[in-house]
Amino acid sequence: MELTLLLFLPLATGLLGGILGNRLVKPVAVLGGLGTLGVAVGLALNYDTALGGSQFTVDKLWVKPLGIHWALTIDGLNLALVVLTAFVYASVVVACALREQESPRLFYFHLGLGASAVLGAFLAQDLILFVLFFDLMLVPFYFLVGQWGTGDRVAATTKMVIYTLAGSLLMLAAAVATGALAASHHGRHLDFLISNLERLPLGKGTQQWIFLCFAAAFLVKMPAVPLHGWLKDAYKSMPLPVLALFSGVLSKVAAYGFLKLALPLFPDAAASFQDLLLAIGVISILYGSALAFTTNDARLVVGYSSIAQLGFILLGIFSLTSDGAQGALLQMVNHGVVTVALVMIVGVLASRAKGSEDLGSMGGIAMGAPVLAVVFLIAAFANLAMPASANFIGEFLILKGVFDSVTVVAVIACLGVAMAAVYMLRAYIRAMHGPDTNGVEQRDLSIREALPILPAIALILALALSPQPLLKRSEGPATAAVIPAAKAANIDPIQTATTAQAKR
């Protein structure tokens, strides 16, 4: 019940605002955002960590003949991501409320729909339900880009539609096939509940093509190289707060999909494609980083950096180790929070540089803006996984997992760690430091600007002090998610002293 409330709250408040009219739409949306966050935090606090497992579960047979369940739950795998989504949504709604939009009623409706869809995808425990929410996620963003976007929004929407639709259709077919084949193979009724499907493994050959279909959809959404062709135009034309929601949480649904679905349902295929996925991860890291340190567009630095960071997350998952998966989950949360801060900061920087997001038109902003300088520095350091940030722990766990399973990949990935330092500091210095040659406006953060940024910064600092609350809840389910695939790949998912010594 609580979960249904959580799931529909953003959408419902978006609708309600639309009905109540232009004057009330903002307050209602903000209340909806904060309410969603409140419910999510309440659920997290009430989640019994000692007990673990699935809690607050809703499970009703929804479409009986097809065996589709309306099944939602919270477990250690999605708990942090659900809270992250609510947090990002609340920040974004607050940020939007502090600026003006055209046709606000429709705008907030789409925003709420987007948040509900993401929450649905994280909460869904039925394969078809997941696919529906996954596809639904994109609908509001087509409109948000198409109607409120800037620049070449037609190209942006076209590319986004084609890329993601291709991925989605493959995934849909794959999902249907999974249920149908599992049912026929084991002589049972059609049933799409994920936990049931886990118990009905498919043949190795079947797993492979189904896995590839899912992987394609997820890799497009993350995005991973070379399936990132839609990213540049989409990022460029999205309104900034919308981009914060998009980049902060949508990409995580894809990474989560690997852990939630692809590894447990198709363990043999995951094992046999491990090298391919690791290669895609490494290429994304190196290629994304290289793009990030050659672009002059502040927004694209964040975008390309996301490609690299998602590459790390992919590595963690496909290390097929417990530490790697936990690192990946932690890094999803870290990246979401940091991205919100960075995207909003790009907006502030542009407002100081006569609206331009070109790093070349900035420079020397720090002088009159010490608070902005510190805030930006904290976000930048977190993004480059500075030791002491939670991002460092996430990256450390990922590297450790990959090192334990495929050592050479971890060594190459380390190049990405150094490259992140280059692109983040380069962007920071170009915007904030140096002589003020472009006549930027040297004004510090206003309260209006700070409101959506400071909570993210506070969260970054809190996670830095103790990432343990997240790790504690994810240990069991993250390990469980990788075990079948690790077995198939003949990898020891949990490296401990005894196993290390036994190996020797």
């Binding site: 097809l66 609908v139 087509y142 409109f143 198409g146 076209t158 539609v161 890329y163 639709l165 989605s168 259709l169 849909l172 077919a173 249920g179 070379p226 399936l227 062709g229 290289a290 793009l291 340190f293 050659t294 672009t295 180790t321 417990s322 530490d323 936990q326 010490p370 500075m386 030791p387 002491a388 460092f392 722990i393 450390f396 766990l397 590297l399 450790k400 090192f403 334990d404 971890a410 380390c414 760690v417 150094a418 330092a421 280059v422 500091l425 210095i429 430091h433 140096g434 103790s466 343990q468 240990e475 993250a478 949990i494 490296q495 401990t496 002293a497 005894t498 290390a500 010594q501 020797r504």
Partner: protein
């Protein structure tokens, strides 16, 4: 209070200071920030003394204490506590770091007084001290990496402190990136160690190491070499050293504190801290010792020719750390740490005194333009002489005892260590030459314009200040040298801290006088008594010979410098002409910057541009994206009658289409 309470307080004060200064940056006026910053570090130092008393009251075998505050990260394969390890080694480092930092904070109170970023400076400086103390107190590999990374960040912030200078921001990013490469070394090294022992906690790792690895086990050799990358990057050893000379872009107190006395010695600390595993990985230790020896020689040759006052001292720092790295890698821990301590005293002193000269020169750092400051700045001159004698290893100054202690420890081991022994003495001769070259050129000879102006009782100001690095006009309204800048010896807080360091640089050696006191070695016993090289047979004949050679080489070096730069001016030009090739090599700093640019920086930049301009357009936008997009466009043209031109209808059609596909597939199933 208990030992652990004291130790946590050591960390708490600088952190609190940094936070208070950061939050209060708008309210704190005048020198309040300096007072807050300095007292925070002083309190930290006093807590360190409290911890020392408490530690010494324990029996020797229980002088390694671990204290944990909370569980930091616990996963399937990792158990990280927020823990510190207090033992003689970490406490020695705490006292050196906090002690020298207190003096440098005190110096900065006046030195930075005219700077617009006064509060920011102390906030950063306190943050640095916190990070450095975190590094030395860390109880496990992860917190060690955290401290390691944070000092790199603090160093970056302070190198780029005058961020309006393009030279400062460039130096900052260079230092930061090289340090991140070092961090990667530490992280991978830690992963290898965790893989082997299954532990992150330092004491557990040390206890398990001998059971897991045999001597020169490839796994631990690789692990130690990775740690060594971290140590070399942070301690500016060849070939990871190129950031240190550039780091001199930071304010002079920063050079004294971070880039001479404390942070750059972190690599020495790391090897000493991890000695139980470095002793198993003897190959890695040998690499470290040779790397240290190479660095000490290379840096000394550059020190002989470089003309920037601060860079002479910077290359000297590199060279001296080479001695320390060589010592701890070869298992001569007590001596290496002894030199770390005395070096902190005399090198911080030299930098502070250099700050005084740079103040008198209104920001100019070129030795070619200096001269004749001896009479007008007697205290600064005295500090340079004391620091210079200690650096050159002239008895009875502190550096004499510590350097000879290192070389004795190497010589006594025999074998190929003799090569290191010889390299050490060759380096010592060069050290004396470059040190007194610097002193003679700045203080002797014909007084320069600035010195004359000071003799008339006024501080020199250039008509317009230009950045010596790239010739751009300085923003003097923002930073030093502002209109109100001082010279160190005329301001009490600066002269007091210089005086204290001068005394320490002179008598610091008494802590470890051969055959008389061995307080330091004895104090460190609980940390190093498990070392197989513990108490290697001391050869008293060799010791006597070494001390004589050391003293003679030091004096000889000073004499050579005196002949070349005072007695017969012009000799230096003749030598340059005669040895043109080595001169070119040294003055171009052995071309390390160029080699690194050629091998690493340019290929990466070129790859980035190639990806951005070519691959993105041709492959990603062209082949991968444009194909499907044009197919879609073509098919949408076919159904143009449907398309009302409205995006909404288009998207709705897409969704309906998708739904139909779903339905079809389901019915098929």
């Amino acid at each position: 209070m208990s030992l652990t309470t004291y130790s946590w307080l050591v960390l708490a004060f600088p952190l609190a200071g940094s936070i208070i200064l950061g939050l209060g940056h708008k309210v704190l006026k005048g020198k309040t920030a300096g007072a807050i910053g300095t007292s925070a570090i002083l309190l930290s130092f006093l807590s360190g003394l409290g911890a020392l008393r408490s530690l010494q009251s324990r029996p020797e075998e229980s002088r390694q204490v671990v204290s944990s505050l909370w569980t930091y990260a616990h996963t399937g394969g990792l158990d990280v506590q927020f823990s510190i390890l207090v033992d003689p080694l970490s406490l020695l480092m705490v006292l050196v770091v906090a002690g020298v930092s207190t003096l440098i904070h005190l110096y900065s109170v006046a030195y930075m007084a005219s700077d617009e970023g006064y509060v920011r400076f102390f906030a950063y400086l306190n943050f640095f001290v916190f990070s450095m103390l975190m590094l030395v107190l860390a109880g496990n590999l992860i917190l060690l990496a955290v401290g390691w990374g944070l000092v790199g960040a603090a160093s970056y912030l302070l190198i780029s402190f005058w961020y309006r200078r393009n030279t400062a921001t460039k130096a900052g990013i260079k230092a930061f990136v090289i340090n991140v490469v070092g961090d990667v070394g530490i992280v991978l090294g830690a992963i290898v160690i965790i893989q082997g022992t299954g532990a992150v906690d330092l004491l557990t790792v040390f206890a398990k190491a001998p059971q897991v690895w045999h001597t020169n086990d490839p796994q631990i050799v690789v692990g130690c070499l990775l740690l060594m990358v971290g140590a070399f990057a942070k301690s500016a050893q060849v070939p990871f050293h190129t950031w240190l000379p550039d780091a001199m872009e930071g304010p002079t107190p920063v050079s004294a504190l971070i880039h001479a006395a404390t942070m750059v010695t972190a690599g020495v600390y790391l090897i000493a801290r991890m000695h139980p595993i470095f002793q198993i990985a003897t190959t890695a230790s040998d690499v470290g010792a040779i790397g240290g020896a190479v660095t000490l020689l290379v840096a000394a040759t550059i020190g002989l020719v470089v003309t920037d006052l601060k860079r002479v001292i910077a290359y000297s720092t590199m060279s001296q750390i080479g001695y320390m790295i060589m010592a701890v890698s070869a298992g001569v821990y007590g001596a290496g740490l002894f030199h770390l301590m005395t070096h902190a005293f005399f090198k911080a002193l030299l930098f502070m005194a250099a700050g005084s000269v740079i103040g008198a020169m209104a920001g100019e750092q070129n030795l070619d333009r200096m001269g004749g400051f001896r009479k007008v700045m007697p205290i600064t001159y005295g500090c340079f002489i004391v620091g210079g004698l200690a650096l050159s290893g002239i008895p009875p100054f502190s550096g004499f005892f510590s350097k000879d202690d290192i070389l004795l420890g190497l010589g006594a081991q025999g074998g190929w260590y003799w090569a290191l022994y010889v390299a050490g003495y060759v380096g010592a001769l060069m050290t004396a030459i470059y040190t007194f070259r610097m002193i003679f050129r700045a203080f002797h000879g014909e007084p320069c314009e600035e010195a004359k102006s000071l003799a008339d009782g006024r501080l020199f100001h250039a008509a317009e200040h230009r950045n010596p690095g790239d010739g751009t006009l300085e923003d003097t309204g923002v930073g030093y040298p502002g209109a109100k800048h001082h010279i160190a010896e005329r301001s009490p807080s600066m002269s007091i801290s210089m005086g204290v360091l001068a005394i320490l640089a002179t008598i610091g050696g008494v802590i470890q006088l051969p055959k008389v006191t061995n307080t330091l070695d004895h104090f460190l016993d609980p940390t190093f008594s498990d070392s197989p090289k513990f108490g290697i047979g001391i050869d008293y004949n060799l010791m006597a010979i070494g001390m004589v050679i050391g003293a003679v080489f030091g004096l000889l070096g000073i004499y050579i410098a005196w002949v070349i730069w005072v007695k017969k001016p012009g000799t230096s030009a003749r030598i340059q002409a005669r040895f043109a090739l080595p001169y070119k090599l040294f003055s171009n700093k052995w071309y390390f910057d160029e080699i690194i640019a050629f091998l690493i920086v340019r290929p990466f930049a070129a790859a980035g541009r190639f990806f951005q301009r070519t691959v993105e357009r041709v492959v990603v936008d062209g082949a991968i994206t444009a194909g499907p997009v044009s197919i879609a466009r073509a098919s949408s043209a076919a159904v143009r009658s449907w398309q009302s031109g409205m995006l909404r209808a288009y998207a709705a059609a897409v969704i309906v289409g998708a739904a139909l596909v779903v339905l079809y597939l389901m019915l098929q199933a």
